[in-house]
Symmetry: C2
Subunit: 287 residues, 2 copies
């Protein structure tokens, strides 16, 4: 390997030794109880990103359960999390040979020091490495222009007001055909597509997939709505261990009605495998 | 109304007074604890149908929580339920003005009388009647032939072996273009579409929508697989109170891989509203 290329590779963060790993690491206090400081580095308009929080809960459950990988994780978001101290309480619901199921709660403290629950999660874990290779998928990867024809937050004035520290930690390159909202011309279609990675070059793993499914701008922006789109519930399926390299994420909304919408995400890896799917129910502020 | 038509209407079961209502009714034992006898009438190949069980849990949570309707309910299926006595234990996780969140477990008893957990559920409830009428949906109802050109279990030899009492309680008319599997010629596409109702004519409500999302034959059959397709996790969103009349249900699978598949269901009412969406992760037995 030429020296320059070697030096470049050496500066890339690796799984287990990256900002994402450090900021999602939980510390065992007593069996099933974990401490964590929620990092201010993953905030979007001053709220802690829901995908980052899901990854924190996912790692605590991976420590509690006998299986390593979240096959399906369902999170109900109760109150808005703040950067700072938090505790995760886990419970083993059932352990089986192929799958085990657990529950976890993320809690923070109010002004009187009382615990306030932020998120509750149910999840079934397995081991992705034990799955057969059989793939009979009808799905095709999203059609995305090459990365250099896509646009990130660094390519223009911040399209979203407020502090969004998370944008510094992501490699996010949005398909220009889903960027009309940023130019005041939303397409009216509930679609958002992007190349996705971590800014420090860390490759994807099942936990960063939990971040990936909730890291793009809301599809509601392309439907012409603005403002915060808080998640009520998000369920993610991790279907395969992602190959190294950038991910492609596609988000689709079919039904905006009654002040709620669903967001369906698909995450594809560099080997053209559909590695994660998610759906969330979110609230929108109608004009 | 002519006398004959009036008599016909009089024989239809109504919401609150139907087999489905009686078989999903839970009896309060102590606050948050409910007894129920799981009916043998909703079994499919001797297993109690997962949608029926979800409706039972949904009704218990509706009794516990201050809001009446399941907006989003996530169920992780742990062990196979049997017809007979069961208990539902609920917990109020959070109550808010618009939404409240609860948790519920369905338990049965082993030979030594110990409780065995069958299903654990997290759900956020609201009141569908308070939602604004605003609809900006990109989704269109599934293309289904008229009901009289579709086929139900009564139209041919039972395509699935074993006792399937549930078929007597459903009005299920499958789109012939998704019925190849029953003739030994699966289409290879992961699609299943049907007209859906309750056999006694009871109209749909949010709880019967929980049944509707898991009542069609598995899409895996049309992909050419056979055998049981047990649900690992199912999340359903109820988006609108359904209008009277038959429902249209469409199920799609995009990704069968590694011995698992997702099933996405959409339920449309007679007023062309998308009233429920669901996604489940299920296991398949690979040949």
């Amino acid at each position: 390997m030429p020296e320059a290329a070697s030096a470049q590779v050496a500066t890339r963060a690796t799984v287990g030794d990256s900002e994402f790993d450090r900021d999602t690491a939980v510390t065992l206090r007593t069996p099933g109880v974990y401490d964590i400081g929620l990092s201010a580095g993953w905030t979007i308009i001053n709220a802690v990103n829901g995908g980052y929080l899901l990854a924190v809960l996912g790692r605590a459950l991976a420590d509690t359960l006998p299986h390593p990988d979240p096959f399906t994780i369902s999170a109900h978001y109760l109150t808005a999390s703040q950067p700072g101290p938090a505790v995760v309480r886990t419970e083993t619901v059932r352990t089986g040979r192929t799958l085990s199921t657990g529950q976890a709660s993320l809690l923070q403290y109010d002004d009187e020091g009382r615990e306030v629950e932020r998120i509750r999660v149910l999840a079934s874990y397995g081991d992705l490495d034990t799955l057969p290779d059989d793939v009979r998928t009808a799905a095709r990867p999203p059609a995305l222009p090459p990365m250099e024809q896509c646009f990130g937050p660094e390519d223009g004035p911040a399209p979203v007001d407020g502090s969004s520290a998370i944008t510094e930690r992501l490699m996010l390159k949005l398909d220009p055909s889903t960027l009309g909202w940023a130019l005041g011309q939303p397409s009216g279609k509930g679609e958002m597509r992007a190349w996705f990675g971590l800014a420090d070059g860390r490759d994807a793993d099942p936990f960063s997939l939990l971040l990936a499914v909730d890291a793009l701008p809301p599809t509601a922006f392309e439907i012409g709505l603005t403002g915060w789109v808080p998640t009520v519930e998000l369920t993610a399926h991790v279907r395969s261990r992602p190959a190294p390299g950038p991910l492609r994420v596609s988000i689709t909304t079919r039904n905006l009605a009654g002040g709620f919408l669903e967001e369906d995400a698909e995450v594809w890896d560099s080997a053209d495998r559909l590695v994660a799917q998610s759906r969330q129910l979110a609230r929108v502020r109608l004009p």
